[in-house]
């Protein structure tokens, strides 16, 4: 009989990474459902396609790097990346757009850096940003109109064939500018009242989008409750956005109103699911706050003055870029120390 030899601790809490990732997937389900209810089958098809592709790509690349494939596939992170891409791409994005996005997310952003845990940038957002600048046409014209505004609503089969046909643009009438897009292009030349006449705004804030965002918010709260994410990032993100909005004024004729910022586009998905990607986010509480407030502020900045109507992807990437630096300068204060030791160890000079 042999005795196990092992270093302490000998007890472990049973919540492995794969389970954490599974929870993220589960928490995203309400949002996905809301998307399906309000925007049709597109997201669901995208999600399935992206996840399948993500797993296949990850397996292939792990094989190439001669890493144990099963061991790493089981951690579910590729699935999360695929899921988040599927959730954020336009509903009628042609299949190859998703494929390029998934491929660049998994290969370039993740595995080239050494795979899980090593990627400095959020893989899903790398994929998204990359296709956004590569294929602006496919990425701006394929947003589904909210259910109810469809002329001749496409069913599952039609949606699938639209995506699978690979056409850069979907059938007119199925698609519509997103509320953020619409606002962005008319603000300044139109008054708020004139802008919001557009059917995409619906009766409340942004037809369909408001419920999708609410659903993601709910899922995010589940993650918070499970302590899978800490409050710093979502609060920082939304706080930064709100603060900027208040700072630049709430005059809806000049700038998009706060409600639109919060409930349209990928705000809640970004705040709870994307900015919180632990691998590419800052480490300490203070660092997380800086990182998240930065994202919120950048989202506002780019949405208001930049070219891109929804800026979550770019803002997340930009702050990812700053994360290692932030980490160096925001270590927590350790027990028994007066203040935190910031920066780098100074080389011993004798």
């Amino acid at each position: 009989m042999a005795l196990v030899q092992q270093s302490s601790p000998h007890a472990h809490r049973a919540r492995p990474t794969s389970r954490v990732m599974l929870w993220v997937i589960i928490a995203a389900v309400p949002g996905l459902l809301a998307q399906t209810v309000f925007f049709g089958w597109g997201n669901l098809i995208n999600v399935v396609w992206c996840i399948a592709l993500a797993l296949a790509t990850e397996a292939a690349i792990l094989k190439w790097r001669s890493k144990p494939v099963g061991f790493f596939l089981k951690d579910n992170t590729a699935a999360v990346t695929g899921l988040l891409l599927g959730l954020s791409l336009p509903q009628f994005a042609p299949w190859w757009v998703s494929a390029v996005a998934v491929f660049s997310a998994i290969v370039v952003a993740k595995q080239l850096y050494g795979g899980l845990g090593s990627n400095p940038f959020n893989p899903a957002m790398v994929g998204y940003a990359l296709v956004l600048i590569s294929f602006p046409l496919a990425m701006t014209t394929n947003w589904a109109a909210p259910v109810g505004l469809w002329q001749d609503a496409p069913g599952f089969g039609e949606t699938l064939s639209a995506i699978a046909s690979g056409q850069q643009t979907a059938v007119d009438g199925w698609t519509m500018a997103t509320p953020l897009d619409e606002y962005k292009h008319k603000v300044g030349s139109h008054t708020a009242a004139e802008i919001t006449i557009h059917p995409t705004f619906g009766n409340f804030v942004a037809r369909g989008w408001e419920w999708v965002n609410a659903a993601f918010l709910a899922g995010g709260l589940v993650l918070l409750a499970l302590r899978i994410i800490s409050w710093h990032i979502p609060v920082g993100f939304l706080g930064g956005l709100v603060a900027m909005s208040l700072l630049f004024g709430t005059n809806a004729d000049q700038y998009a109103p706060l409600s639109l910022h919060l409930l349209a586009g990928g705000t809640m998905l970004g705040a709870f699911f994307i900015a919180t990607d632990p691998v590419s986010a800052a480490t300490s509480h203070q660092g997380k706050l800086i990182y998240a407030v930065g994202i919120g502020a950048l989202v506002y900045l780019i949405r208001s003055w930049g070219n891109y109507p929804d800026a979550v992807a770019f803002s997340v990437l930009l702050m990812n870029f700053a994360v290692p630096f932030i980490d160096y300068y925001t270590p927590p204060r350790t027990y028994g120390h007066h203040k935190a030791r910031r920066g780098l160890p100074t080389r011993k000079q004798d």
Binding site: P136, L137, H185
Partner: protein, 231 residues
């Protein structure tokens, strides 16, 4: 101190020597190529103009045959824009006005608008823009034929409301995915036509045309405005 003086003079002379040699080389090359460069620059500048009014369609030195435009702030095309005039023998073929559309998707779009004396469009060309590659850049002739659809339009044959993209109920195609850029261009062209109609009198005058058709007295072109563009 001797070493200091020595060091100074040695360095100064050494570097000076290089200056003479290298400066000489450059200056020589410059002297040799100066004329050709000026010519090339002028030709490049002219290329867009000649696309609108081909060389076969005019006989004057269009590059140096310019008129200054009055009250041209509406065209947003620089401080004192001047239009190029094309003439076939003594007939006025048309003139080309530089215009800037300010409401593009990102930044200004620089256009050349060619107009016949009767106010009909000879052609429109884009000389500079920052629109999104792949979306807004189809206003370039290299990317699509879109700008050619202006040819032949005039205020007379196209009513004011029609000066818009189809999506907004106008005459002109937009391209998929980008309405803002074409709308901006259409607007700018329209504005130019309106401007020309408004300032018809002055323009005719500076073209040397009688306000009432008839006086075809030649006038020397005002060439002094034209200057070599910075690169």
């Amino acid at each position: 101190m001797a070493t200091m003086a020595q060091s100074i003079s040695r360095s100064a002379i050494g570097l000076g020597l290089f200056a003479v040699i290298t400066g000489g080389t450059i200056a020589l090359t410059q002297a040799v190529t100066k004329e050709r460069i000026a010519e090339q620059a002028a030709r490049a500048e002219a290329a867009a103009l000649f696309e609108i009014i081909p060389e076969s369609a005019h006989s004057n030195d269009m590059l140096n045959d310019t008129i200054s435009l009055p009250d041209a702030a509406v065209l947003n095309s620089g401080e004192a824009p001047s239009a190029w005039v094309a003439r076939q023998q003594s007939d006025l073929v048309g003139f080309i006005i530089p215009v800037t559309a300010t409401d593009g998707y990102s930044g200004d779009i620089n256009l050349l608008v060619g107009i016949t004396p009767s106010g009909e469009l000879l052609g429109v060309r884009v000389t500079g823009h920052h629109e999104t590659p792949g979306l807004g850049d189809r206003i370039e002739t290299r990317k699509s034929d879109w700008v050619y659809q202006f040819n032949g339009h005039s205020l007379a044959n196209t009513p004011g409301k029609q000066w818009n993209v189809k999506k907004n109920g106008g005459e002109f195609d937009q391209f998929t995915g980008a309405t803002i850029t074409p709308r901006a261009v259409v607007k700018a062209v329209h504005k130019t036509l309106v401007y020309v109609r408004k300032h018809q009198a002055e323009i005719r005058q500076s073209l040397g045309l009688p306000v009432e058709r008839g006086n075809r007295k030649q006038r020397n072109a005002v060439a002094s405005h034209f200057s070599e563009p910075e690169h």
